[in-house]
Structure formats: C-alpha cells, structure tokens
C-alpha cells in the first residue's frame, strides 16, 4: 500500500507537479491512516504534498495540529522549512515508505506533507471526483477552506467584506515568500484589481502561497479551481459537519441546487462578471453555475454569518487532536469578531489598538502639575503664564461675569486675589490691579478679585451692579488699560455703591454673604474649569508635538524609500 503510493508518487510526481492533488496532512494519526486507506483505494494519482501554510502567521498558531511527518520528509523539507516546525507533525506511516523515495527531490517537494509550519489538517482530496478540472494541486479542500476562512475572519470579521491591501500585505508577508512572488500571487488572486481581497480571492491567494511554499511553481494564470466563482460555488457551509470527507464535487452540486433568488445581491456579482476565465471556456453550464454560485455565495455569506457560532464548535470538534490552546486561540478571535459583524465596528475595533493613549499620562502629569501649581501657588503666576498661554476664548467670558460678579460685598475688599484663580495668565496683573483697585478704593463692594474668578458662574447675575470696566482687569489681554479704567469706574461705582449700601445695610450684608458664598463656589468652579482647560491645552500641545515628530519620521522614511534615480 505504501509502496504503491510511493510508486505512484514517484511516477506521478513530475507529471503531478501541476496536476497532483494537494495532500494535506491529517489532523490525527487515526484519521490519517484511515484516509490513506481511502486514498489509496480511491485514488491512483499521487498525492501531492500538503499545502504548506503560511510560514509563520502568528495569528494562526497550529489551528490544526498536524500529524507528525516522517523525519525523512522533514529532512527533505528542512531546506524549505523556515517556520517553526513546532505545530508540524509528520505522518508516521505515510512518511516512512516514502523516505527512501526521497531520491527524487524534485518530486519530493510535492510529497512533503510535513510541509510547513502551518500545515493544514485538511483531509486530502481522496478522489478525483472533481475531474472537471485537471488542476488538482489548485483545488482547495474542505479543511483548507475552513482554515482560510478562519484566517480571513481573524483579519476581517465580516466574511462578506474585503480585506484591505495593506492588511493582506502584512499577513502574506509573514509567509516569507519573496515580494515579487507575493506580488505575482496578488496579481493572480485579486481578480478585480481593486486592491482588496474578498473571501474567495483571499482563499485563492492563500492557496497559492501555500502551494508555492510547498514547491509548486506559480501558475501562469489563475487556475479554474481558484477562481472566485468557483470558490464561491464550492464554498462549503461552515455548519456542515460532515464535510470533512466530502469531495468538492459533492459539495458543488449540492450548492448548485436552486437557492432562494431573494438572496441575490452582494459583491459577488462583480467578481463573477469581471473575472475572466483564462483556461476554461465559459460554457453555458459555467454561466449557469456562475449564476447559481452568485446566489449561493450570497446565501453562503449570510449563512456564514448566521452560523458563525456553529462554525465555532464545529471547528473545535474537527480538531480533537489539536491542542486546546490553538483552538481557543482561534476561537477567541472568532468570538471576539462575532460580537459585531459590521464593517465599521470591525474597522473601529481594528483601529482601536493602533492608538494606544500613552499620552494622557504624560500630559496628565504635566497638566496636573501645572494645575497644581496654579491652584496652590497662585503667587507664582508669572512663570505659569509663560508656560501656558491662556486660551484666547477666555477673554470674552469675564465681561458678563465680571459685571455680574461685582457684588456689593462689604468685606470683599480685603479679599485676596489668589483665590480667584486665573491660572494661565496674568495673576500678577490681577494682583497688581487689585492692589491698585484696593488702593484706589477700599470699598468692599468692589469685590473684583473674587468676582473675576467666578466669572463663569451664572449665579452672579442677580447682582445688580454692573461694572463693565473692571472686567478686563483680570484679562491678561488688557493688562493695563482696564486698570486705570477700572479704578475710575470702580471709584465711581464704589461711591454709588456706598450710597446704596447705606440704606439696606443689613440686607446687603446678608446678600453679600450669600453672594460671597456664591462667588466662592463660582470661584471654585472657575478654578476647575481652568484646570480642565489647562490640562486639555497641554494635552493638545503634546499631541501636536507628537504628530510633528511622526510627520518628521515619516518624511525621513519617505526620503529613504525613494529610490535613487538611475538612468
């Protein structure tokens, strides 16, 4: 049995390079042996070696645990093996007889089931039922397809949407194939040349990469079994548990059964319409098939979405031999991805990680320190004002508030300015002005200092006093101008206020106390607002700096990447 396979392999290998079926190592040894019997019984063609999965996709640790391959093969393959052989298991029974046949290295590469790291545990296509197309190595088996779909989902949770070019590039680059080869594979698989991969395109590209890693030369054109229509038609529903041993031919006719016409639409149509079938004549059957596949694809996609949960347990059940870690690893992204199937959410989620916010900490510390300084050390306003220029939006604010805040407070004259925190700017001006004001007018009713801080508080509206000129005192923008003005009107107002306060003295006092409390609360609120704004400002500035740095770095990169002009 083994020898026969061997002979077949050897015999068929040169011819099989393009026509051999892709052999995938089995998930479990038992399965492998069983399969082998099946294969030998049913299939006379040499089994092409397993498709080598992408070299080292960290996102896809051995999802399928491979049966260990023979050491002979691993030796043969060692040269081509670059990835970690850890998940790779050789198939003992099959390998041994083929060990001696390693004399045909040219033929051997196809035989390597131990191909590469990411070997699939997909069952080998045992029979040649799909004899419509002679390109056996380009046929995707069920397990391979499952694997590809899982990989697709790990990159893009929505199976019916696209993988962008950059995402796919990063993913395929992990396969360690050369860039020109990857570029060519992309050319082959991106049928509509839109710079993005749909699920069938992705499967095709993945399959080509696997084939290439297995030693297959890349085809000149996309094989018919890898074309999007074909792939969509043959796309097995994930809920089908029994597909392990199903052949494509079985699945295809099943899929081709008339589906609900209502399920039409989606993006598959363009794939169908645009993709040219290079090596195949588009017969009427094919067209019919394409129509059906179109419908089927839509239905499949909807089914995929709906049966995601089913797929999860199914995949897990498929890999009894695989470590739970790999499964859970696979399942985790799946479960995570299926929390929302919308593209926007996926994109948002995808974009969340790249924007870690380490900045706020820095800015926080800085801002907090600044705030603290402002809050607790009002006596050092000059330096602080130099550090943080006050937001320009502030100036208009104090005007109404100042008007309202000038309360007739008997004791406010002696109130120090420091409580009225205007952290960013001219506290010293404030002090100076207040000093001037206090000197000019000691009248308690001009509680400029507290009123200034509590400009934003609306509770001061009830204060009848309007002292517009004293407003600008606080503003750094009008440092000196308001000072003399304020003093003049303040004096006048003070005079009027004194006259007014003469009558309802007690009432005024009560009022003033209330107002004082209100002013103090307003002051507090203002302080908080100022602190928040200052923090925000510092954060924004920090962000601006970082963006500048990023820009500089990118420009440097661009300069480096720009090739030297040659002629």
């Amino acid at each position: 049995m083994m020898s026969k396979t061997d002979a077949d392999i050897r015999f068929g290998n040169p011819a099989e390079l393009h026509g051999a079926k892709v052999q995938i190592p089995y998930l479990i040894t038992e399965k492998n042996t069983f399969k082998r019997m099946d294969d030998e019984d049913k299939q006379q063609e040499t089994q092409s070696p397993t498709m080598s999965p992408l070299a080292s996709p960290p996102s896809s640790p051995p999802h399928y645990q491979r049966v260990p391959l023979s050491h002979g093969y691993s030796k043969l393959r060692s040269s081509t093996e670059q990835m970690h052989p850890a998940p790779y298991e050789a198939r003992q029974p099959l390998v041994q007889p083929e060990g001696p046949s390693s004399g045909a290295p040219g033929a051997k590469p196809p035989r390597h089931q131990a191909s590469l790291i990411r070997s699939f545990s997909v069952e080998r296509e045992p029979h040649d039922n799909n004899s419509n197309y002679p390109d056996e190595p380009w046929r995707i088996t069920e397990e391979q397809r499952e694997y590809y779909v899982n990989q697709f989902r790990s990159l893009q949770p929505d199976p019916s949407s696209f993988i962008s070019g950059s995402v796919a590039k990063n993913f395929f680059t992990k396969s360690k194939l050369s860039i020109p080869e990857l570029s060519y594979i992309w050319e082959l698989s991106d049928a509509d040349c839109d710079g993005a991969l749909t699920l069938p395109e992705f499967c095709a590209a993945f399959h080509l990469i696997v084939a290439r890693k297995n030693g297959y030369p890349l085809p000149e054109g996309l094989p018919p079994t890898l074309q999007p229509e074909y792939l969509q038609a043959a796309f097995p529903k994930p809920k089908r548990e029994c597909t392990l041993f199903d052949s494509y031919s079985e699945s295809m006719p099943a899929n081709q059964q008339p589906r609900d016409l209502n399920r039409m639409e989606k993006l598959s149509i363009k794939d169908m319409a645009d993709f040219p079938v290079p090596a195949q004549d588009v017969t009427s059957d094919d067209k019919q098939e394409q129509n059906k596949t179109r419908l089927e694809q839509n239905k499949i996609r909807l089914a995929l979405k709906s049966t995601a949960d089913e797929a999860l347990p199914k995949d897990m059940s498929e890999d009894p031999a695989t470590s739970k870690d790999s499964n859970s690893l696979k399942a985790r992204p799946r479960s995570r991805s299926y929390s929302s199937t919308s593209i926007e959410e996926a994109m948002k989620r995808g974009e969340d990680p790249p924007t870690p916010p380490p900045r706020p900490q820095k800015t926080h510390s800085r801002a907090s320190s600044l705030d603290l300084n402002k809050v607790f050390q009002p006596s050092v306003p000059a330096t602080k004002s130099g550090l943080l220029p006050p937001p320009p939006a502030l100036p208009p604010r104090p005007c109404p508030s100042q008007i309202s805040h000038h309360n007739v407070n008997s004791e406010c004259s002696a109130q120090p300015k420091p409580p009225t925190q205007l952290p960013n700017f001219g506290d010293f001006r404030l002090q100076k002005q207040s000093e001037q004001a206090s000197e000019a007018e000691i009248h308690p009713q001009l509680n400029r200092a507290p009123s200034q801080a509590a400009d934003s508080s609306p509770t001061k509206k009830d204060i009848p006093y309007s002292q517009p000129p004293s407003k600008p005192i606080r503003r750094k923008l009008r440092p000196e101008n308001p000072a003399p003005e304020s003093q003049e009107p303040s004096s006048t107002v003070g005079g009027a206020a004194s006259a007014v306060t003469g009558k309802p003295h007690t009432a005024v006092q009560k009022q003033s106390s209330k107002q004082k409390k209100a002013i103090q609360t307003a002051i507090r609120k203002n302080k908080e607002a100022n602190a928040v704004l200052a923090r925000l400002n510092s954060e924004l500035q920090q962000q601006l700096k970082e963006v500048h740095q990023e820009r500089i770095a990118l420009e440097n990169q661009l300069e480096q990447l720009r090739p030297v002009t040659v002629l």
């Binding site: 070019g165 950059s166 796919a168 590039k169 395929f172 860039i179 020109p180 990857l182 570029s183 060519y184 992309w186 050319e187 991106d190 040349c193 839109d194 710079g195 000149e220 990447l561 720009r562 090739p563 002009t565 040659v566 002629l567």
Partner: protein, 139 residues
C-alpha cells in the same frame, strides 16, 4: 504596433521600459530619454492653466525619420512614452490614445497591488503581457 514602450516615474527614471527589436535597445532607450525633455516642455506649457484642463494624452512628441514618439502623462506625473514605427501609417491618433488608456489601466492595476512599492520597477506579469499584446502587432 509600438516598438518601444516606457513608463517613466515622476522623478524621471524608468519604471518600465521594453522594446521589441531587442537588438537595438540602446537606441530606443536614448530616444525615450530625449523625449522626456519634450514631455516636460508640454507639461509646463499646459501647466500654466489649471491642471484639470491639462489633457493626459500629449500626442506626438517628435518625429524622426524612422519613428514617431508619443507621450502621455498621468496626474501623478508618471509618463508613458511610446515609440512607433513611422512606416506604420495605419496607426491613427485614436488608436494611440486607446493604447495609452490600456497602459494607464494596467498601470493602475499594478499600483493596486499592495506588494508594489511606488517607485519600484514594474515586474507585474499582467502588465508585461498587456504591453506585449500592444507590441506584438508590429510583427
């Protein structure tokens, strides 16, 4: 119909250059190189006006006794230069335009490939085959 097709990058270095009579390649390379001056002239002349009004197809750049050189510029300043045989009088302007359009489409497809770094030499086989199809008709 074309005997030589070249794709020149914005910085005036060739991204792709291929000629049919492979024995005389140097001559064609030189012709393409000298035609770049004419291309730049045409671009700058039209560039005074709005870029929108500038047509991508530049037309006949200059004729020699044996060959005619046609030019085409994309909006990203990538230039296509095509050298055709003068003896091929059946070639009309429209055909040249359609050939350039095909070139442009193939170039766009090459750009869509994420593995293609802008500025690299174009090694796409699809692009190659398209250019071959344009040039093969000479024979």
């Amino acid at each position: 119909m074309a005997v030589c097709v070249a794709v020149i990058a914005k910085e005036n270095y060739p991204l792709y250059i291929r000629s049919i009579p492979t024995e005389n390649e140097l001559k064609f390379h030189y012709m393409v190189h000298t035609s770049l001056d004419v291309v730049d002239e045409k671009i700058s002349a039209m560039g005074k006006a709005l870029v929108d009004q500038r047509e991508l197809y530049l037309g006949l750049l200059y004729p020699t006794e044996d060959y005619k050189v046609y030019g085409y510029v994309t909006n990203s300043k990538v230039k296509f230069v095509m050298v055709v045989d003068s003896s091929n009088t059946a070639l009309r302007d429209n055909e040249i335009r359609s050939m350039f359009r095909k070139l442009h489409n193939s170039y766009t497809d090459v750009m869509c490939n994420p593995f293609y770094n802008p500025g690299d030499h174009i090694q796409s086989r699809a692009f190659d085959s398209m250019v071959t199809s344009m040039m093969i008709q000479v024979c």
